[in-house]
Symmetry: D2
Subunit: 342 residues, 4 copies
């Protein structure tokens, strides 16, 4: 039984980790930290966890966390990098759900996140935790950087096209829509129900932090330069990401077959029958990415639809998938759940 | 491994049965029927079930269903009574999630449901499936009538007061609010998103079918005549029932202790600390009723708050709890899930 | 043309004032203040007002506001009382949408609002701005205290019963449900979309600030002592209050006639046909309270349903109705709008 | 005062017509028809209209409607064409909110709408009611075909680019998101709250009826062949369309200036400051299209954001704008309303 610690257990990805770990057959959640709620019982703050979790939030301390086999960071950007070096030294493995270790170039990191990286020497060692691309490396990783939610949906959607070099990689468009939980659980006016329900908007059209991550990920597997125009939107619901991807085909292929073959062995990527329109609720609460491929006769663009639950395959579920791989547990352990409909 | 059949698998309670049975360790779902969708793969209609269910909807046939150990009916009122007698004769046990066997008096049934009961002889034999009241009888039952969603939340909320005879039982009020899934999955204008979202209303103030059920249930355990004024409301969300219960205390008791003691041994009823306000999301997707007790000093009325997920403890979850009891399986099998937050 | 000032124009009631005043035929909005946004164009913060409002938020200053004929305060509790004495001295009339002048007894005010009242001498002079009760006094008032949202819906619902002395006034129950805009536009975790959508809860069961206001209002018109058990709830939508009121009748009357006759001359109270169930969307955006009366044969309780838009008849609309009365304008000026459906 | 008739007053566009006409200073609504509700008072079906509308739904009859100056059809596709010829003959002018007269080519119409056009001779005479393009023709039109909701948002967004010939018109992408009211007010499972809330999906990726309309409209003003890839999506809210438009610039221009100059004289198109992200609530209930232009340095694609209320500028509001033009009334009559926030 793995001993697990969670740093930052009061945000939505942290809370989802608690939900998933509560029923994981091979993991024991032993430490949960929260600076703001230290001393409070977890199930007092989240009554839904009554009966599943009798822990008390504590201050994050490396000497306590280093007794765990693995520590998840579901903290604001910039927090993990201050504790990770010490944990790694003590032999504890780390899975970061924030952005601290996603980018390889510390200068790019600073440009997008507005702070100096404090342990750039770990950026090379950190493994980008997208199992469908990096499974082998993840198994041996001491430090895994979990992909962002948008990058997960978008990369899994574009992957077969890039790998097969069958599209004009300079003309990709990712029009993505996210539920509000992606914005986190901080006090703000912007994400009040009365501000975001019954409304829809784009944001960050001039630049979003997930752009360099998507660029890095897709260029790593491409021979040609990949250029993605990325537009994120906020849609009035709690969970879910829907990425609508546009590309121009440069070869005459059976797209459906390309996708089905690429993901045939992947437990958590589901290629739907041709002509499907996956709705985000078909993945709500589940660690799965569903993809549908549309190729109209004579059309300029193909359209790929890719949906995930941003808190599961886009965050906590993928983090546990990484943990399973790192500790040689069955990859699906703790992740077999039926999407929540209605 | 129990062999299970589900008659009527395309409504919301049927769909929730499919979700819960998919991960039940002791049950194998072998037959799903749907007149309207016979011949269609279940996971074509509900893509969220891909990988969990490869069955095909079939026409309901007693000779096929009678091979099952237990058959659930999640059908419109009046359907179950046409097939149940034959199934019982063949030795198959039945759990009805509709109203066909909830009321003991066929005249009352006819009055509220507008049709003649076709097997009134079974009404006496049918056990009302509220485990917190009828656990022993359920274990031996051939035919279980699952309680309605409102009656579950309301009876569990009033139970300790009635049993202890500490309130004026002629002056009870149940002001209850339900999510829209309680209205079912039929084509209708009334339950379109554009009709019910961003709005709140009462309905059936002049009489709702759950009134005779609540009356029957509470009077069965009361020495005094119980009279409940019941007002159902529709609230713009998918799942959840919140019952706000009012009563006038007639004795000087420690209410919190009364409730905690009554439900101390119940796995699926959770009495919250004094002064709590359970929100319905604290039970979303989980087979639990959470109750909070409010007794203001010098106040005329005590206020009891009782919340359930109408599709789980109010329908499919409670049905499986009954199945577990009927077949001597651990009562919590297949029902250990963390509420879904956010 | 009246010259109007609004102090606190960035909350939901302030914003609704801006929306309504923009099309009022007899009022010119000349000053809008906001400490936090002084210097910012109003239509930069609220692009929906582009073309309707080219003002700039300014710091609140009595010498500027006193040039207005009337000043609305849509500020947090405790702000208005610090500026109102000076404004009144200068001859400017004041309509306060907050609670500062609603209660007559400064000791009760302190008990519920946690601060000392700084101008208790004005409490006697302030007129409670419920036109259906105090129309004559409002016309001559220098200072009007607009009723709270819950108290508006609840008092209008109970009024005919109390005035006619036909119920047991010691046994009243008001089970009320509010949309989230009632909680205001402050940064908070509690009112994030991800916290309150898809969930329903009661709050303040042990005591809510609107209780003394309801008590004061109903007792003022009653010969017997009035006692109301009040339970507020939060329902996942933006606007709307639905009050479900319970009482025990003590006389044999035609309830429908009692209500229709009481409100026959009221432009903003609409008594629906017997047996109706008003939904809150039937008043969305409109300055109206719709009421339905339910009296089941032989039942213990009558049930009154009363709905308003909390931001209109429960706040900004009623404030403008008061302004119209104070300045001898037609009471409906600026308030003729069709509810917003769907 | 114009005498107005509405055929099909029970759908969402019909209902919005009733809301807007109720306060139009120059129009008197004299006839409302509904086959399904003939004989019912309008305000019985829609209590929100109590006090604004005391009409009774009648069967649609040409001899009655022909007494009106203008008749709006807010009916399912295919209904208007059966009555319009007779009305036109009698001198009544017609504004059709459905698709019957939008396409010029009856063969294309048949292909997309699945029925033979019964009065193709009127297709040439019908004026496409997009005032920002066809104002002069609308003024003299006997028959106006109101644009679809998506085509309104998309054409207004692309218009300046096409007119100025500054983009590769063969590579346009319109990724559009609509609230659920766009799907109409028919009984259906697909649009139940429990099916579409808390979920997001694309639909009709392989072909949507608005494609030929967009193609026809944009090609009519373009010298080069215009090709638009159009993907509609359903977003869980009632009203609003957000079109995210992608194009590749072929000239070095100041985009913001191009848009501001194009729409400088248009009362109902609002070009926001550079870098803006209009949310759909900024147009809720208002007859306006807000547009923002994004041109990142060195980027392949420019991004245009265009939002409307699908029921107002996308349907009923635009219909009234057309009526005002046809009858030489001020274009803004009855259309001056502040968007509804929150």
């Amino acid at each position: 039984m793995l001993s697990v610690g969670v740093v930052g257990g009061t945000g939505y990805t942290g809370l989802e980790l608690l939900r998933l770990l509560a029923v994981h057959p091979g993991a024991s959640l032993d430490v949960i930290t929260s600076r703001g709620n230290a001393g409070t019982r977890v199930d007092k703050l989240f009554p839904g966890l009554r009966g599943f979790n009798d822990l008390i939030f504590t201050e994050p301390k490396a000497e306590v966390l280093s007794d765990c086999d693995v520590v998840f960071f579901s903290t604001p950007n910039g927090v993990a990098m201050s504790m990770v070096p010490e944990l790694l030294k003590s032999g504890t493995r780390v899975i970061d759900l924030a952005a601290d270790f996603r980018l390889k170039d510390p200068a790019v990191w600073k440009q997008w996140y507005g702070m100096e990286h404090t342990c750039p020497e770990l950026l090379g060692e950190a493994v980008y935790g997208l199992p469908e691309v990096n499974r082998a490396a993840i198994k041996n990783a001491q430090l895994v950087a979990c992909p962002g939610c948008y990058p997960t949906a978008i990369q899994l959607g574009f992957l077969p096209l890039i790998e097969q070099q069958i599209v004009d990689s300079s003309r990709l468009i990712a029009d993505a829509k996210s539920g509000v939980s992606g914005a986190g659980r901080q006090a703000s006016v912007a994400n009040l129900l009365c501000e975001v329900s019954e409304s829809f908007k784009a944001y960050g059209v001039n630049g979003h932090r997930h752009i360099p991550e998507i660029d890095q990920g897709l260029n790593a597997i491409s021979s040609d330069r990949v250029n993605v125009t990325f537009t994120p939107h906020l849609t009035p619901m709690i969970r879910g990401i829907h990425a609508t991807l546009y590309a121009e085909l440069t070869a005459d292929v059976d797209l459906q077959a390309v996708y089905e073959s690429r993901y045939a062995e992947e437990a958590f990527v589901d290629v739907l029958p041709e002509g499907s329109h996956p709705d985000t609720r078909s993945v709500k609460g589940a660690n799965v990415c569903r993809i549908a491929v549309h190729q109209a006769k004579g059309a300029r663009h193909i359209v790929i639809l890719s949906v995930i639950d941003n808190l599961v395959k886009g965050a906590a579920g993928q983090a546990i998938q990484n943990m399973n791989l790192m500790f040689d547990q069955p990859e699906q352990d703790g992740l077999v759940s039926v999407p929540f409909i209605p």
